[in-house]
């Protein structure tokens, strides 16, 4: 059977100021008719470069060194710009990562779909509209009124559905999916995956599905190819790759995938309550003369953290979990009461230096949480200066987060994402806190780096006995480490359960939905 898409010995360089950098080494892949090939790799492995090479949309400094890219019997590298326009969309579709930037904000949804159909399938305006309505129905957008809406008037999940409808509607031979669910929250992402599986059954289109998430890829793909630093290290049927990873890199990837049944924390928390919060309401913005105040981001949330406990806080984006972190660290105005060490706090001004020292926060993006104009030693010296400590402790702090002492002289941009996050952790622990709030600290990191960071946090907890409030959207991860988990939805807490009870029957329906949406590895 001839493959619909074949990549033979493809090698790609990027020309940079230090000379050519090889991003893809001798890649050979084939996708048969109706087959879905999953392409997995960490950030920087070259998976998106491969997608752009197939779309013939490489940056100017890219040099194709060797190999061929063929779509059926067409040699993609030899196409003229005019021929490319006829191939793109018509025979080779693409769905991007971020739906909010891939639709034109000034055109209606209807215009954007019908234009693609008129261009690629040569339909008349009227036929195109009726087909567009039909296609939108297929992606569960049944209200034809959506045709007249603008992209900002529909949600992120709906936008991705519109893009998928457009891609499928042109009936291409192959569709490239570049992390189509990464920018969406868990439940919306899960629905998109269900939709993808159904459309695939209906149309039999072949697809290349690119993702960093091995667990997710094994659920949608027939075969999985693993890319590491531009090299293809393994190709295997999806069902086998989890059970019997052959290459060491694949094994590392498989091991790093969090599985709820593999607990990493075995001790019990203390009985003494470190921090108790009750009726916390965070309100952004106030009402004006002619408008009401927006609803509060959190609605009277109460929680308590015990000594040495890891409390998980889970929810979709917009559920108010980060607002809780901001309230507890005095970054957002709130109403309610926080009791910490017999000290009562009713508003930001009540937070004294002792509270600020004892409650530390680590942010999601390590790039943004370290000042780019400060060297590492200056970043680490601030908590020491503020809370008492000696500058000679800096090497010890670096060593505590498993970084060499020589890093003290570096700038943040000279460090990788995982290393930066370690510095942020060192900065938080420099204050010798009693409670550390981790706000999605592993979300922007690769799974293998995520596993290392979690291991580090647990080791620090062993050493210091610090309690954690761990905010995340990854239910599988938090079930590995937390003692208790709180589930938030639209500013309300729907569940607060010990982790053992998550398999029980009395969980909230929303929690069950969240669990069903978290991809658990096959095998």
């Amino acid at each position: 059977m001839t493959p619909v898409l074949s990549i033979q010995n493809y090698t790609l360089d990027y020309i940079s100021s230090v000379g050519p950098v090889r991003v893809l080494h001798d890649i050979s892949l084939e996708i048969g008719p109706g087959e879905v090939l999953g392409l997995v790799g960490e950030s920087g492995s070259g998976k998106s470069s491969l997608a752009w090479a197939l779309m013939r949309h490489l940056p100017e400094n890219a040099r194709e060194v060797a190999g061929s890219l063929r779509l059926g019997d067409i040699d993609l590298q030899r196409l003229s710009p005019g021929e490319l326009t006829r191939i793109r969309g018509r025979r080779l579709g693409m769905v991007f990562q971020d739906p909010s930037t891939s639709l034109n904000p000034t055109l209606t949804i209807g215009r954007q779909i019908t234009e693609a159909l008129i261009q690629h399938r040569g339909l008349k305006q009227r036929d195109a509209s009726s087909l567009a309505i039909n296609l939108l129905g297929h992606v569960d957008l049944n209200n034809p009124a959506i045709m007249r809406r603008y992209p900002h008037e529909i949600s992120g999940g709906e936008k991705q559905r519109v893009i998928i409808a457009t891609a499928f509607g042109c009936r291409p031979d192959v569709i490239l999916f570049d992390e189509p669910t990464t920018a969406l929250d868990v439940i919306t992402g899960a629905r998109i995956l269900e939709l993808f599986a159904r459309l695939r059954r209906e149309t039999g289109v072949a697809a290349l599905y690119i993702s960093h998430d091995l667990a997710l890829v094994t659920r949608v793909a027939d075969r999985v190819a693993v890319l590491e630093r531009g090299r293809l290290v393994e190709q295997a049927p999806a069902a086998d790759i989890f059970r019997a990873p052959r290459h060491a890199n694949t094994r590392a990837l498989v091991d790093a995938v969090p599985r709820p049944e593999r607990r990493l924390v075995h001790d019990k928390p203390g009985d003494q309550v470190v921090l108790a919060a009750s009726d916390i309401e965070v309100q952004y913005g106030s009402g004006g003369l002619f408008r009401d105040a927006p609803p509060p981001a959190t609605k009277k949330i109460g929680l308590e953290v015990r000594g040495g406990e890891i409390l998980g806080l889970v929810g979709e984006s917009g559920s108010g979990k980060s607002s809780m972190a901001r309230a507890l660290t005095g970054l957002a105005r709130f109403s309610g009461k926080i009791t910490f060490d017999a000290h009562e706090i009713h508003r930001m001004r009540d937070m004294n230096a002792a509270y600020r020292r004892d409650v530390q926060i680590i942010f999601q993006h390590p790039d943004a949480s370290l000042n780019p104009r400060h060297r590492i030693d200056e970043i680490l010296s601030r908590p020491l200066k503020l809370y008492g400590g000696h500058l000679a402790d800096i090497p010890r702090l670096l060593e505590q987060v498993r970084l060499p002492a020589s890093y003290a002289n570096r700038w943040p941009h000279q460090l990788s994402g995982g290393e930066k996050q370690r510095i942020a952790i060192a900065r938080a622990f420099a204050a010798r806190p009693k409670l550390v709030i981790c706000d999605e600290i592993t979300a922007p990191l690769d799974v293998s780096v995520q596993a290392q960071i979690i291991e580090l946090l647990l080791a620090l907890r062993e050493e210091t006995g610090t309690a954690f409030l761990f905010i995340t959207h990854d239910l599988n991860l938090i079930r590995q480490i937390a003692h208790r988990i709180a589930v938030m939805r639209r500013g309300e807490m729907v569940d607060l359960l010990p982790v053992e009870d998550f398999d029980a029957d009395h969980v909230h329906p929303y929690t069950r939905e969240l669990m069903a949406a978290s991809p658990v590895p096959v095998g």
């Binding site: 940079s16 100021s17 400094n61 660290t329 005095g330 970054l331 937070m351 230096a353 600020r356 020292r357 530390q360 926060i361 942010f363 999601q364 993006h365 943004a368 949480s369 370290l370 000042n371 780019p372 104009r373 400060h374 601030r382 908590p383 503020l386 809370y387 942020a424 900065r427 204050a431």
Partner: protein
């Protein structure tokens, strides 16, 4: 820093700007030593002498050598413009970053005041201040600095608002840092790029504004060889001896262009996306 300089020199506008600035700086430093004549040496036989081998750029109504006057006058024009811009930018940047950090009503109050001040044209503002403070080069510097601060404050604030939302600033607030540390050490270094670019461009405005004030008779006073004053003096004899007008005007324009070019070059060189 050296890397930035090399990047700046690679851009054509940066290279030309730097060369021109180096010439101007040389005139400021060594002007009096290099000048062929004393700037106030009067030569009655050489009144309105056209440019030639005796006076390269000609002579004015008192027979004073225009080239010598320009070279000596550089010292009383360019450094003063530079100081005025520096003081104005520093004040404006501090106000802008502070306003962005404080936020809310305070920010609103500061920025609306700035808007009100900006509604008065810079020259009018400077004239107003000089006429209250009294004539003289020192007061002109203060007037220009005050006239420049609101614009700088606005530019800085818009850059600082982005920085204000960065997690490192939030981290500093969460660990209980004081406002001066956050404003000067956390935020200000991260908005330096737009400030530096804006100030280099503003130096050229300051040179012109300073010359204008002298031209109007409220800046430097005769017989100083300040460039704006030279233009004012030569104006009456424009038809007899146009070189008296052209040479200092060209010097002012050249300085303004030099600073503008360096500002343009810096904007490109400071842009990290411009690596290739």
């Amino acid at each position: 820093m050296t890397e930035l300089f090399i990047r700046l020199m690679r851009k054509p506008q940066g290279f030309v700007g730097i060369v021109l600035l180096a010439l101007i700086a040389a005139a400021c430093l060594f002007g009096p030593a290099l000048a062929p004549y004393a700037p106030e040496k009067i030569d009655f036989l050489g009144r309105f002498r056209a440019p030639g081998w005796q006076n390269w750029l000609g002579a004015d109504q008192f027979g004073r050598d225009i080239l010598s006057r320009l070279m000596v006058g550089a010292r009383s024009t360019v450094p003063l413009a530079f100081i005025a811009t520096f003081v104005g930018s520093a004040a404006g940047a501090t106000i802008g970053v502070g306003s962005a950090y404080l936020g809310g009503r305070t920010d609103e109050a500061i920025m609306r005041t700035i808007d009100a001040v900006m509604a008065i044209p810079g020259l009018l503002m400077a004239l107003l201040l000089v006429s209250t403070l009294g004539n003289g080069a020192g007061n002109a510097v203060i007037a220009i600095a005050v006239a420049f601060a609101p614009g700088m404050a606005r530019v800085t604030r818009s850059a600082a608002l982005n920085v204000r939302n960065q997690d490192y600033v939030k981290a500093a607030i969460a660990r209980g840092e004081g406002a001066p540390w956050i404003i000067f050490r956390e935020m200000l270094p991260n908005v330096m790029a737009p400030i530096v670019i804006e100030s280099t461009i503003r130096v050229s405005f300051a040179v012109m504004l300073f010359a204008t004030l002298s031209f109007l008779g409220v800046g430097a006073q005769p017989p100083a060889s300040e460039w704006g004053l030279m233009v004012a003096d030569a104006r009456q004899h424009m038809h007899q001896a146009p070189w008296g007008l052209i040479a200092p005007s060209a010097a002012i324009a050249l300085t303004a262009i030099a600073f503008n070019l360096v500002g343009d070059g810096l904007r490109d060189a400071l842009n990290p996306k411009d690596e290739r």
